[in-house]
């Protein structure tokens, strides 16, 4: 960690000396450690330190970006000069007016020293205990354990100055038996909040159930989707529907249809950094404060997220969801939350006359027909047949192909409890378990075809 004062002081000097009329600097840096294991042994173990500074300058309405990974004042000034040269050779961007003005941000707690100080040896010792836990059950464990610390800063020549330190601890446990696998995971900014033994026990218990997988007829069936399934679907919805560009360009089911009902009345989806279960980065990579944005409210298309340029194009205001400078994707939601319901996973299972409990999705793709949010993917790490309120047996992994508009219009129940499913850099999804009626299964994982 370089530290707030040193980062802000150096970047301020670069802005003051920049050859450009207007300059914006985005700093990202830190140290990360990642331990991967398979067959209850660590096979990959890495630490890295890096910094990255995005230097964006404006020449009138022309923008230029140069990125370097060196925190050196003279090199940053050279980058600013190169960015200015690039800007001068571009056409004007009619949607650029100015970099944002200084702003106040919500206070979020995203840095914990215990995580920052967690060493490779501490990760290895933690894993040694989990491997022993699995050994006692005759299982092997695969997965990954990350602990990292980082800093993000945004400054511009209007005097905007934002800084946030972050830590991130995440563990994935994939117990493996000769019959099948399962998966459990946990994320927290604070590594001391993770109950490693409980996470492992959860995965190990599930693994014992995932055996003798049977083949079931394809077609429509009720499903109980656990939170990680929803997180993967939401990532795709963020990309194809809840972001700015697909909305402005008319490519999504949200485009031109705000205020219309596209999902069931029991479905509310929003983007928020301040949830009881998790907190996120309070500003975006342009320095705009992150706002809570209603995306789907009681099934009605309510809004999408915007950054500086897309907001001007859509004649609205930025919501604080800008990506690092130079990226062409517009704004993307970072902290998608599905509102909780009043059920529980156990109640959903006990209420299910005939259906499937799906613990994880794999390799989802949402490009089939974005206007219908038609997606395909596989189930993974345990899919279970439920009958008359009880888990009967495991089934082979299945391919599903389904419109998410149809699926979210068929939601029978949503759990009260939600799980934080994390990505890197302050991004997370906060998802409950969901009971969906008549989900469409179209294929099965096997070596021989019909």
């Amino acid at each position: 960690m370089i530290g707030e004062q040193q980062i802000l002081a150096l970047l301020k000097r670069v802005i003051d000396r920049s050859p450009a009329e207007r300059t914006e600097l985005v700093f990202m840096g830190g140290r990360s450690g990642l331990t991967r294991y398979t067959k209850s042994s660590i096979h990959q173990n890495v630490i890295e330190e890096n910094t990255q500074v995005y230097v964006r300058v404006a020449d009138g309405k022309r923008l230029g970006v140069v990125t370097i990974n060196r925190m050196d004042e003279e090199e940053l000034l050279r980058a600013a000069a190169q960015a200015l040269d690039a800007a001068k050779h571009q056409p004007e961007n009619p949607y650029f007016e100015d970099f944002p003005q200084p702003a106040q941000y919500q206070k979020t707690k995203t840095y914990f020293e215990a995580t920052a100080e967690f060493t490779p040896a501490a990760r290895a010792e933690t894993m040694k205990r989990i491997f022993a836990q699995a050994d006692r059950l005759g299982l092997e464990v695969a997965g990954a354990f990350t602990s990292e610390e980082g800093e993000i800063a945004v400054l511009n020549s209007n005097g905007l100055s934002a800084y946030q330190p972050l830590t991130h601890a995440q563990i994935t446990i994939v117990p493996v038996s000769e019959h099948g696998m399962s998966r459990s995971s946990a994320f927290s900014h604070d590594v001391t909040k993770i109950d490693f033994e409980a996470v492992a026990a959860n995965g190990l218990e599930r693994c014992a159930l995932n055996k003798d997988q049977q083949e079931i007829p394809l077609g429509q069936m009720d499903v109980i989707l656990e939170p990680s399934c929803l997180a993967e679907v939401m990532m795709w919805l963020g990309f194809i529907a809840f972001g700015s560009n697909s909305f402005i360009e008319g490519r999504s089911f949200m485009a031109g249809r705000l205020g219309e009902q596209s999902m069931g009345e029991n479905v509310t989806i929003y983007d928020s950094i301040l949830e009881p279960e998790a907190q996120g980065l309070p500003f975006d990579f342009q320095g705009f404060p992150k706002q809570k944005v209603a995306l789907i409210e009681r099934g009605i298309n309510r809004g999408v997220v915007f950054d500086m340029l897309s907001a001007n194009q859509a004649k609205t205001r930025p919501t604080g969801h800008g990506l690092p400078p130079g990226m062409p994707h517009g704004a993307i939601p970072w902290n998608v939350c599905l509102a909780p319901g009043d059920s529980s996973l156990e109640e959903m299972i006990s209420s299910c006359r005939r259906g499937l409990l799906v613990t994880n999705f794999h390799y989802v793709n949402g490009f089939l027909d974005p206007k219908k949010a038609l997606m395909t993917g596989m189930t993974r790490y345990g899919t279970f047949f439920v009958e008359d309120g009880k888990i009967k047996h495991a089934v082979k992994n299945l391919r599903w192909t389904e419109s998410m508009l149809r699926a979210f219009s068929n939601v029978k129940a949503i759990s009260r409890e939600r799980e934080v499913i994390s990505d890197e850099g302050g991004s997370f999804a906060l998802m409950p378990a969901v009971y969906v009626k008549d989900f469409t299964f179209t294929g099965v994982q096997k070596e021989e075809s019909d």
């Binding site: 949607y95 360009e249 294929g443």
Partner: protein, 484 residues
């Protein structure tokens, strides 16, 4: 070069500390990405990325540390941190890692080019892209016209405690355009020469000009518009001709990934997945028909799957993976190849200095058919079927068996002729059955190498530049559409 001496000193220090093996990699990369959308520059960034990573094998356990701080003290300290990480790994060791006996190499490798793309004025690049987009946008129903260019200059240095010393300089250039048409609640896209940034090769700016983006823009526009009113591709079983613009991803997902030996041995099982091609099937499984020959080949000039040496210093090689349909080879590393009693096939690659090398695809190629059959001749030889082109969606299970691909465009074939355009084609299958249904692969005249610059694998995620040489091929009795 100071960094070389510092890395040598760090490796010497690690040798004195009793490590089994250590290597150091330094990488300096300049990139430029340009995205233009409609009348705007949607994204333009130049990036400079430079640093080093040190990998240590201590008592049979791996450790790796990387830093961007380029001082002698930081290089030495990073080496010691890598050793600390390896010592931590050793705490859980069950089987020590042993490397194969590949001879340490000393050499250089450099890709050729005529025009340095990073020296080409920005105006010239934007002129080319905007000229193509102007043609795409000549109809108002084209809601999004997009063009991209990407350029990469990478200088790499590799040193090991065994005495390897390798310098490589690789230049890559790529470009593509796409048109998105919107009408009557439908969205249709056509991309040229391929999706996701087009095609990329280890040439200079001359490669971008050779793609003839402007000359192909009108066809993309008209096809995107025609798709709006085309009939949906019917569901059912059909003979399928897959154009090379789609077959490249089929080979990538169902031939390339499952033949990565680390996947087959379970080291990616908690993330990217495993493989149905387990070592017990080597030399025994009929993966495909006799028409199917797949080679790994890192020696093809101009391809982004080529290099002089991989990222653990093993020379580039050409080797069989599938021979006349039989599964005979894997992509391997110095750690995994001995499991098969072999030496590394030279497929260990790291995205950058701060990533460890993993087994990655190189050029994994479907070899052309022996007879020089053309796509037109293959269509003429097909009584009833569907021709699909250009990938739109992709999904495959964690063992690489059940796949589903969507394509941008299809044509119905009747009586050996393309009779009508179809939209939203999707096909699905099980990998070995699918490749066993292949009864014809076009010949050399229709065979080309496609660069794929976005292959993802590993944790933290690494994006690798890989490539596949393919020619159009025909598959009999394939499930088309989505089974309800």
């Amino acid at each position: 070069m100071e960094i070389k001496e510092w890395l040598k000193a760090a490796l010497k220090d690690l040798s004195r500390s009793g490590v089994d093996y250590a290597d150091g990699r330094y990488l300096d990369r300049e990139t430029e990405h340009i995205t233009v959308r409609n009348e705007q520059v949607a994204g333009l960034s130049r990036k400079s990325d430079c640093g080093f990573g040190i990998r240590v094998l201590y008592k049979g356990s791996w450790g790796f540390a990387a830093s961007a701080r380029l001082t002698e003290a930081d290089v030495m300290e990073t080496g010691r941190r890598a050793l600390d990480v390896a010592r931590a790994s050793y705490l859980t060791q069950r089987e020590p890692v042993k490397l194969d006996d590949t001879e340490p190499q000393r050499g250089t490798y450099k890709t050729g080019f005529e025009v340095d793309p990073l020296a080409v004025p920005l105006d010239r690049k934007l002129d080319l892209l905007f000229s193509a987009l102007k043609i795409l946008r000549q109809d108002k129903r084209i809601a999004v016209a997009e063009g991209e260019m990407s350029f990469y200059r990478t200088d790499k240095l590799f040193l090991s405690t065994e005495g390897a010393e390798i310098a490589q300089n690789i230049l890559e250039s790529g470009a593509g355009i796409e048109a998105t048409a919107i009408g009557d609640g439908d969205v249709q896209r056509r991309s040229y020469p391929s999706t996701m940034g087009g095609d990329v090769a280890t040439y200079g700016y001359e490669f971008v000009e050779s793609l003839r983006l402007v000359e192909n823009a009108e066809r993309m526009r008209e096809e995107a518009l025609a798709l709006l009113t085309a009939e949906p591709c019917p569901a059912g079983r059909s003979d399928l001709i897959i154009d090379s613009s789609q077959l490249v991803l089929q080979v990538h997902e169902s031939c390339g990934h499952p033949t990565e030996l680390d996947r087959a041995l379970g080291t990616e099982i908690s993330y990217a997945g495993g493989s149905f091609l387990t070592p017990d099937k080597l030399g025994k499984l009929r993966y495909g028909s006799k028409a199917v020959n797949i080679y790994g080949d890192a020696t093809i000039p101009g391809s982004i799957g080529s290099f002089g040496y991989d990222d653990e210093g093993v020379p580039a090689q050409r080797f069989p993976i599938i021979q006349e349909g039989m599964f005979v080879g894997y992509l391997t590393s110095r750690e995994t190849a001995p499991v098969l009693g072999r030496t590394s096939s030279g497929a260990m690659r790291a995205e950058s200095w701060h990533h460890i090398p993993l087994i990655r695809m190189i050029n994994v190629n479907l070899e052309p058919g022996e007879e020089d059959l053309t796509l037109d001749e293959l269509i003429a030889d097909t009584r009833n079927g569907i021709l699909v082109a250009t990938n739109k969606s992709w999904s495959i299970d964690d063992l690489r068996l059940n796949f589903q691909f969507g394509c941008e465009i299809a044509w119905e074939i009747k009586g050996g002729k393309k009779v009508r355009m179809l939209k939203n084609p999707v096909y699905t299958g099980i990998t070995p059955q699918f490749w066993n249904s292949c009864d014809a692969v076009c010949g050399k005249s229709d065979w080309r190498v496609w660069g794929l610059p976005n292959c993802g694998k590993g944790e933290p995620p690494q994006t690798m530049h890989v490539a596949h040489g393919v020619a159009p091929a025909r598959f009999r009795n394939i499930e088309v559409g989505v089974k309800k």
